[in-house]
Amino acid sequence: MIHYLKTPLEDQVLDRLQPGDEVLLSGIIYTARDAAHQRLMSLLEAGSPLPFDLKGQVIYYMGPSPTPKGAVIGACGPTTAYRMDDMTEPLLKNGLKGTIGKGSRSPKIREYLKTYHAVYLIAVGGIGALYSQMIEHSEIVAFEDLGTEAIRKLRVKDFPLYVGIDTQGRDLYTQ
């Protein structure tokens, strides 16, 4: 089953997704990996505003290679998701609806996704060159000093993914 999804993600659409389904995602997504997550956690703890509104949004765990002249972005495949497991719930609580990464996640993520009605989508690791061709626009929106780990706003077109964990907490890797 292939789902054509557009961001921001809507609840009714998310309910149709099941583990293993293919997704072609279009629209705006944000990148954040280890260091950016630590910064976001600090902002939330301090009660400070976040650099972008999380409502209905999707975070892609990714740090690209540098952009060559004339290109939109460098190689840009997923990084392993479990490292962000302890920093995911506060973002879901603020409206985040989807995360994109690779690999398995801890059991508590399944519970959180059920509670907050969100999904985990899997990108294929090690095909960063191919993924770079599906990104139409990229700009840094926060933490520029983090280099590759800065938060980027990407506009993607038919970005190929698989449903890893659905809104009922069902996990492709434990089924």
């Binding site: 990714m62 690209p64 190689a75 690779k102 398995s104 690791g125």
Partner: protein, 280 residues
């Protein structure tokens, strides 16, 4: 006695880095093509095809195969008849890394201190292993090692009575625990024996061997083929999607060890095994 300039070694390293980051080595591409011939799982087949498409595109458009362009690991076997000339070898190598990662638009992934974590900005330093061997040649092995797979590696200090079955169980357990995380299909490097650090080093040396080549020791070659079957039976498959293509190869290296110990290290590499070797 033979004189070799450190600048010429650095130049070779630069050339290798500007190649391996953009083009899968022939052994890896061949192993993926072979896997595609026998893989029956639908999603896994489409992932294997994408790996090959990614390789073709990376070569054509000079985009890195993967955004994680790794930590550079260099093995230098230096003939003891060789005299190195020029600047300090490690400076020459690090300069080549910095130049390749800047000019090739490769990601700078190295932090200067593992605890304070400030990016060095040029992907240096690399990790360098030197060994002295007879003769007057230098053999340089290079890999750019991604950390999604490095993080899934493990070391165990087993008991002598655990024996070969215990080692096999540890290797299988490591692959199973890693699951989809290290970007399967993986290459499994196994170092057995020596001391703790020797086993770890051997496990990385094992990853440098070309996939599809036999282990020079018949007894180890047999173990590799047996363990490969058992890994296939785990059914993890490409990116954990299922199917039979969990590993492209299992490579074992051994070294004498102590009567009290059986060290085992398992170093995992992703399908994007970017490795190369040159003799100077």
């Amino acid at each position: 006695m033979r004189r070799i300039s450190t600048a010429s070694i650095g130049e070779k390293l630069y050339e290798i880095l500007m190649t391996v980051n953009f083009e899968l080595p022939g052994d890896v591409r061949g192993a993926i093509e072979n896997a595609l011939e026998v893989e029956e799982h639908g999603v896994s087949r489409s992932i294997l095809k994408r790996l090959l498409e990614n390789n073709a595109l990376a070569m054509k458009k000079r985009i890195p195969l993967c955004q994680d362009t790794g930590m550079v690991v260099v093995f230098l076997e230096i003939g003891q008849e060789v005299v190195l000339e020029g600047e300090y070898i490690e400076e020459a190598l690090n300069q080549s890394i910095a130049r390749a990662y800047e000019e090739g638009y490769l990601r700078k992934s190295i932090v200067s201190n593992p605890l304070t974590r400030i990016n060095t900005g040029d992907n240096t330093p690399g990790v360098f292993h030197y060994s002295l061997v007879p003769g007057e040649h230098i053999r340089m092995g290079v890999t750019v090692k991604g950390f999604g797979s490095e993080n899934m590696s493990r070391l165990g200090m087993l008991r002598p009575s655990d024996g070969v079955e215990g080692v096999k169980a540890f290797v299988l357990e490591t692959v199973a625990l890693a699951g989809p995380n290290p970007c399967p299909p993986i290459i499994v490097g196994v170092g057995i024996g020596g001391t703790m650090e020797k086993a770890a080093l051997l496990s990385k040396v094992a990853l440098m061997r070309d996939i599809g080549t036999d282990n020079p020791l018949a007894s180890l070659d047999q173990l590799e083929k047996d363990w490969m079957k058992s890994i296939e039976a785990l059914g993890i498959g490409p990116m954990g999607m299922g199917g039979r293509t969990t590993a492209l190869g299992v490579h074992i290296e051994t070294y004498p060890t102590h009567i009290a110990g059986l060290p085992v290290a398992v170093n995992i590499n992703c399908h994007s095994s970017r490795h190369s070797e040159v003799i100077l």
